[in-house]
Amino acid sequence: MVAFDEMLPAEAGLRRPYEAYDGWLKNQDPARLTEKMRDAERVFRKTGITFAVYGEQEASERLIPFDIVPRIISGNEWRRLTQGIEQRVQALNAFLDDIYHRQEILRAGRVPRELIAANEAFLPEMIGVRPPAGVYTHIIGVDIVRIAENEFYVLEDNARTPSGVSYMLENRETMLQLFPELFQRIKVHPVENYPQLLRQSLAAVRPNGVSGAPTIAVLTPGSFNSAYFEHAFLADQMGVQLVEGQDLRVADGHVAMRTTEGYKRIDVLYRRVDDAYLDPLTFRPDSSLGVPGIMDVYRAGNITIANAPGTGIADDKAIYSYMPEIIEFYTGRKPILGNIPTWRCSEPDSLKYVQEHLGELVVKEVHGSGGYGMLVGPAASKKEREEFSKKLAARPSNYIAQPTLSLSTCPILTEKGLAPRHVDLRPFVLVSDRIRIVPGGLTRVALKEGSLVVNSSQGGGTKDTWVLDD
């Protein structure tokens, strides 16, 4: 199967969004481009943007490889994508509100009750909580793949704590440094204002009764976390405090942070700490990363937590397969962006099919993320498939399977010139009293020829993503 190349598709010739870039590229000296690649690496080393990879012997900090060929999306394509994304995040928030209140969708039988009831991401402590503006998931990274000119699919909804936005920003920054003349020639929508939009968005969901500018802070698990760089970067860019659990306590009915002038109230907390660690008085008592009592302050309406606890119930991979039903239930319309057909291994017929077609499918853990614990059938050895098959038989409800999609490709610059590699796209969505989507997002690229795994933990790289102002 030949993948759809977004620059130079097999039969159609150079695609329009790439025309201007191609014109510029043709006039570049290959040696200069290779040099620029090295410059890019130096820029990243200097800014200190690294990524800790779990599960390796040495707890290694790696640079995520960056490719200097941009991924380019036309204004029209982007408009269609944003409509689909907006519809999707509206449905996600409506679903969360429903699940933590009347559960109409379960009563209607559109989503099976057991899927919620037996799910660790469902937090009873959220029952009856309606956050400001009714927003539960404020920051979402929707992973989108493309397989043809007009075929886009949502791969997953990252509705709890999506990461990667710092790469989007750094990638653009780097491109602007390396190729200022390119941005003179081609009108590309800016992404640099993301931190300001994030700040505005968080401010708009401040607790009711907070007048004036709310105090915002970013809660990080600390410097050992793989995304610590991003936490520090976003706090810095927004001009707000970066805090850890030990800096915070409950005071005067609020969560407050220690400052040189005593404790200062926090109105909106952008937390990058997982639910289970957020409040040792409520969840895991052994957590030292969270804030004891923050759930009490939250239920009392005195702080906004973004994203809300318990949003994981909306992006669970088992729930994902019901997203078309969920979107239709809450918006009354068919999904604009499709789902990838998904076999739920909890269903005996599906399990049988998956077991018989392991060589063709991608099998994922229901609660997993980051490309860990998954099987890419076509790329796996017979032994790997056999071992996975045993795991699947032991805990079928822990897995879902999807067809191996031929993801679109974009060229990357290799030593031998341009070569196509598979990509996906994670646009970042901000939800408050309105929905804001920065034009672009994070394009992840599988650097190995033919590989479909774009996760940075599995050797993927990134590209700058351009949305044309055309």
Binding site: P124, G128, G253, P280, G293, A300
Partner: protein
């Protein structure tokens, strides 16, 4: 029946406390079996930070340490008008769905002993089966204080054969859930006959029976709650309905004293 309740909890420490939190579920609400006449909380050594209704509708308050005290005391007291509803506390209310109460928690997770116990409950009408279950638990877990603690599971207490009302309630909830009934844990007070001083706050369990709603079963005493009972908080287990839960920063040694009186 008009009951007068006083519940004093005092924590003493061997060094001053600088930071800590206490979460109280000590504010009873009026309902089918009780009407609150007066109720008050008196707190020393700590102050109220926030109050809210938790996921089960319990009036919950979060306290933080005030100053650097050596003792913290919490007195909950007031008067309640109770009536005998034969243990029926009425229809299910609130956003917490009934199915949530069909699920076991770490404290009620059944093992072989609970499974066997539940399996030995005979067939018949729902109420008869639940009364049968209550009688079985009363037989199998002798009321002995000091043999279990707040972390003891239903299974452990049943295997041990001794425990207190908390263990009876967990064993009942665990078994009732196995039998297909939504079940919950209730914390509150009981006026024991002929005595004003009560050894402890009380707990019992409720099972949801179609047509009747929630029905209480006090397996420690082998009876359904009557007008001598005051209900304070509910949850799926002790941990979710606990009257006081705290977290303390530091190394201080804690001593706990509880004094409860319930009288007419």
């Amino acid at each position: 029946m008009r009951l007068k309740v006083s519940h004093r909890t005092e924590y003493s420490y061997d060094e001053p406390i600088r930071y800590g939190l206490q979460r109280l579920r000590l504010w009873p609400a009026s309902g089918p079996a009780q009407t609150m006449l007066t109720w008050a909380l008196h707190i020393e050594g700590a102050r109220e930070e926030v109050r809210f209704l938790d996921q089960f509708g319990n009036d919950t308050r979060l306290l933080s340490i005030d100053g650097e005290p050596h003792t913290i005391s919490v007195v909950a007291e007031g008067e309640v008008e109770t009536n005998d509803t034969a243990g029926v506390s009425g229809p299910h209310r609130g956003f917490a769905p009934l199915w949530l109460f069909e699920h076991q928690t770490p404290l009620t997770a059944p093992g072989t002993a609970i499974r066997e116990l539940a399996a030995s409950v005979g067939n018949g009408r729902d109420l008869d089966r639940l009364h049968g279950l209550m009688a079985l638990i009363q037989q199998r877990i002798a009321y002995v204080t000091g043999t279990t603690d707040s972390r003891t599971t239903a299974e452990e207490a049943l295997v041990k054969g001794t425990g207190v009302c908390q263990d009876h309630s967990h064993a009942f909830a665990a078994s009732a859930r196995l039998l297909g009934f939504p079940a919950r844990y209730v914390s509150g007070y009981l006026m024991m006959n002929d005595t004003v001083e009560q050894v402890a706050s009380h707990a019992w369990a409720e099972a949801y029976v179609s047509d009747l709603g929630w029905v209480g079963f006090d397996a420690a005493n082998g009876m359904s709650p009557d007008e001598r009972y005051v209900r304070v908080a509910v949850g799926r287990d002790y941990r979710e309905a606990m009257p006081i839960a705290g977290i303390l920063i530091g190394q201080a040694q804690e001593r706990l004293a509880v004094h409860i009186t319930v009288e007419q």
